[in-house]
């Protein structure tokens, strides 16, 4: 390679794809059937936020029933109509439907589609340096399948028999037999159709995310130079790709059981003394299939939030992330383990105790990579120049929830202890902290942090802080007492406990939880106001408001279709060069070559520059683009 391998870019705007001309379409092609990943991300975001609001309101309605069992809810009749009984109470079957829909909406529509859909779509091309996703068309389909799925689920809220009511885990036979509960009729059918469409959407999205990350990275963006967000989305997409087909398989068999009379999950059932014709099915089989998705789903929800916070915490501590490789490794380890722990949801199904202890062991091992992550978050914060932006506050909140919620996982993951705690409010407290609130905080943190890139304006930081503190304290007020309620033996999904004398001593605690839930939901309206106000009236965002190193901040304030007006920037260093000793500023963007920063290079980085120059003559004169 002694020959001149020198490329000279004389043109300032080198158009390498013909992508960077502005697309002037009409309203439909620009905002509705758009193939631009940034618009699709916004579509996911807005739909996800709408669902979050619906899911939150549903939870407050059933919290009213639990906290104030004697209160009259007559005032809800204009909205809920026949679902309020003549005595002014929530109909007990509708209560179950509320719980089911709250779970389904939050887990799938908000924290899977709303979180992964928004941030994977938005950040993957921007942070790996790609013009768009590998297939913009598939990406658009992914959103529209999600929209269709949302439409079915939304419709099911308004039918006369009510939405699905068998719990978000839709265990048969409850979900399979329309005689079991009203919601198992049309509501369940709509649920299954909706989820089938949802799975198609997730797979289309996931295939795109993985392909883009593997194949569309810009020059120099090696795997070890990818931001942790991208690593997180990558693992998330792989988990989804491997686990969602299994849910699809389970749902298809359930559809056959419900509508075609097969007996995959049904056997020996008598209704009003009449035997059903179904023989030979196994309801436990459904649980195995469901939880083979269901457990990885927990990490599908959580990993993107962990990736987002890794990025935010490093940026706002002005320090490199502590243990980059350990962070990637622990995510990989979590992703692998997520597939071999599903039966810890089924300890009380009459499982062989020996098998139970194996699943206990595997489950408890997850504590190791999780602890590594928490340790790395804390050590990144340690002695950093911390800037408490709203995004940072929510990220630190996530670390807190991940810890408190994760610790109770150690108890629940133990097959012996689980006998006492199974299906009590202890479980509810555990997963709402570690998976629900933690992921929700990750999502909110991401919105605050990347809002300038989404809409070119800043959100209000003071309102953000208010939003954070009310939500943070509120979430703990909601879920911390639930641990005690759970240990006392309160079963989840019960409509009313007032019939049990034992439980009346906890009425005040339940009331506190309900009040806190209302306040926490109320605080989200501060966020909504801040969000929508800032889209149009927020302070105009500078190019790189957080002093961040990653590629998305090298794009214009309103990136067009194709993201970078000129050539795609090249990447020369990892994304966490914050407060590097000797450097002029406290961050060095990924696009700055080592040869330009001799003052801060470490010895091995200087070697790298020399090696490049000496070895191949592969030195390219490159016009500086910024």
């Amino acid at each position: 390679m002694a020959t001149a391998d020198i490329k000279v870019h004389t043109e300032a705007h080198h158009d390498d794809h013909g992508h960077d001309h502005e697309h002037h379409g009409n309203f439909w092609t620009n905002y509705i059937f758009c193939q631009d990943h940034k618009v699709i991300a916004k579509q996911f975001l807005i739909t996800g936020m709408a669902w979050a609001l619906i899911g939150g309101i549903l939870s407050v309605i059933f919290r009213l029933q639990l906290g104030f069992p004697d209160a009259s809810l007559e005032w809800l009749r204009p909205v809920l109509g026949g679902w309020i009984t003549p005595e002014g109470k929530i109909d007990s079957e509708f209560y179950l439907a509320l719980v089911t829909m709250h779970g389904t909406i939050m887990v799938f529509f908000v924290l899977t589609a709303g979180l992964s859909g928004t941030f994977s779509n938005f950040l993957i091309p921007l942070q790996v340096g790609a013009r768009d996703m590998a297939s913009g068309f598939m990406n658009m389909l992914s959103y529209w399948f999600f929209f269709l799925s949302s439409a079915f689920m939304f419709t099911s809220l308004f039918i006369s028999t009510g939405p699905a009511g068998g719990g978000w885990t839709i265990y048969p036979p409850l979900s399979a037999l329309p005689q079991a509960i009203q919601g198992s009729g049309l509501g369940m059918t709509l649920w299954l159709i909706s989820m089938a469409l949802f799975i198609v959407s997730t797979l289309l999205g996931g295939i795109n995310y993985i392909t883009t990350i593997i194949n569309m990275r810009t020059q120099g963006m090696s795997f070890t130079r990818m931001p942790l967000t991208i690593w997180a989305f990558f693992f998330t997409a792989i988990i989804g790709l491997l686990s969602f087909p299994v849910l699809f398989g389970a749902a298809l068999l359930l559809i056959f059981d419900r509508s075609f009379g097969t007996s995959f999950f049904l056997s020996d059932i008598y209704i009003a003394g009449e035997a059903l014709p179904n023989v030979g099915g196994s309801p436990i089989l459904f649980q195995h299939l469901f939880w083979f998705l269901g457990h990885p789903e927990v990490y599908i929800v959580l990993l993107p939030a962990l990736g987002i916070t890794s990025e935010i915490i490093a940026t706002n501590s002005r320090k490199p992330i502590f243990g980059y490789k350990a962070m990637v490794g622990s995510m990989l380890f979590i992703a692998i383990l997520s597939f071999v722990v599903w039966a810890h949801h089924m300890f009380v199904t009459g499982m062989n105790p020996f098998l139970g202890s194996i699943f206990t062991l595997l489950t408890l091992i997850i504590a190791v990579p999780s602890a590594v992550k928490i340790f790395n978050y804390v050590t990144t914060l340690w002695k950093g120049n911390i800037r408490f932006t709203s995004a940072m506050l929510f990220s630190i909140g996530l670390v807190s929830f991940f810890l408190t919620g994760g610790i109770t996982g150690l108890f629940l993951g133990n097959s012996a202890v689980d006998i006492q705690l199974h299906d009590t409010y202890f479980v509810v407290a555990h997963f709402h902290l570690v998976m629900g609130s933690a992921s929700f905080f990750g999502m909110i943190a991401g919105i605050y942090h990347w809002f300038p890139k989404f809409f070119g304006r800043m959100m209000d930081e003071r309102l953000g802080a208010v939003h954070f503190w009310i939500t943070f304290v509120g979430v703990y007020m909601v879920f911390f007492p639930m641990h005690y309620i759970g240990i006392a033996g309160f079963p989840r999904r019960y409509y009313s406990w007032t019939n049990f004398e034992t439980f009346s001593s906890f009425a005040d605690l339940n009331m506190l939880v309900s009040i806190a839930a209302v306040v926490t939901l109320g605080a989200q309206f501060i966020f909504l106001f801040n969000f929508f106000y800032s889209i149009w009236r927020g302070r105009v965002a500078p190019a790189n408001p957080w002093g961040s190193t990653t590629l998305e901040w090298t794009t214009p304030r309103h990136p067009g279709h194709g993201n970078w007006p000129g050539e795609i920037p090249h990447v020369y260093r990892w994304p966490y060069d914050y407060s590097k000793p000797g450097a002029k500023e406290d961050y060095i963007p990924q696009t700055v070559p080592y040869s330009e920063t001799p003052e801060s290079n470490l010895p091995h980085e200087n070697e790298l520059v020399k090696l490049e120059m000496g070895n191949s003559g592969a030195i390219i004169p490159d016009d500086k683009r910024h």
Binding site: A134, G249, Y594, E612, P621
Partner: protein
């Protein structure tokens, strides 16, 4: 920018990539594999619980297995022909694969008729229902591959498939082989675990 200011910088390393669409196809096949893996493991779990009706698989499934194996051979020959720019050969071999694919589907449906003749219905003991679900959903995938084959056949007749433009043909070949192997796996699985 246009001042002609030049900077000497180290060249960033190129990243390892492959054809995005081919890669996406492999990912799709992984998810299809997971779907069938879930059903075959469900099959084993359910079988272990007892109350499992034993029956012989239809003889036609043996013939359809032979057909799909032959079709994989014709497809591979077609791919090699495309590499050597033998336009007519590509077209006839893709056509042969398509016809064999349709024959396979016909064989599967007639196999179902044999099952029904044997009093094994879709509705009944799960041992039978599983066979219908597995063969049926595999058949749907074969149908999707036949549509893909027709698209390739169209390109082949317009002489658009040659050594310089192989991606489509390559992807179709990969998908067809995958579904062939998948069927062989499913068939052997059902033979062993009756």
């Amino acid at each position: 920018m246009a001042t002609g200011e030049m900077k000497i910088v180290e060249e960033p390393k190129k990243v390892l990539t492959m054809h995005p669409k081919k890669f996406a196809l492999w990912l799709f096949m992984a998810s299809v594999l997971m779907l069938f893996a879930s059903w075959t493991s469900a099959y084993i779990v359910r079988q272990a619980e007892g109350n499992w009706v034993f029956f012989e698989l239809p003889v036609l499934f043996y013939y359809s297995t032979a057909i799909i194996v032959i079709s994989s051979v014709t497809m591979q020959l077609g791919y090699w022909a495309a590499k050597r720019n033998q336009f007519d050969k590509v077209r006839s071999l893709v056509l042969a694969t398509t016809i064999l694919g349709v024959l396979f589907l016909a064989g599967q449906v007639m196999g179902w008729a044999q099952l029904v003749g044997n009093s094994i219905y879709f509705v009944g003991n799960p041992s039978g229902s599983f066979v219908y679900v597995i063969t049926g959903v595999h058949g749907l995938h074969i149908l999707s591959a036949i549509i893909f084959l027709l698209v390739v056949l169209n390109s082949a007749s317009k002489k658009r498939i040659h050594s310089g433009n192989l991606a489509q043909m390559e992807m179709c070949t990969t998908y067809w082989h995958f579904l062939g192997f998948l069927w062989v796996y499913l068939f052997i699985f059902m033979l062993i675990n009756r």
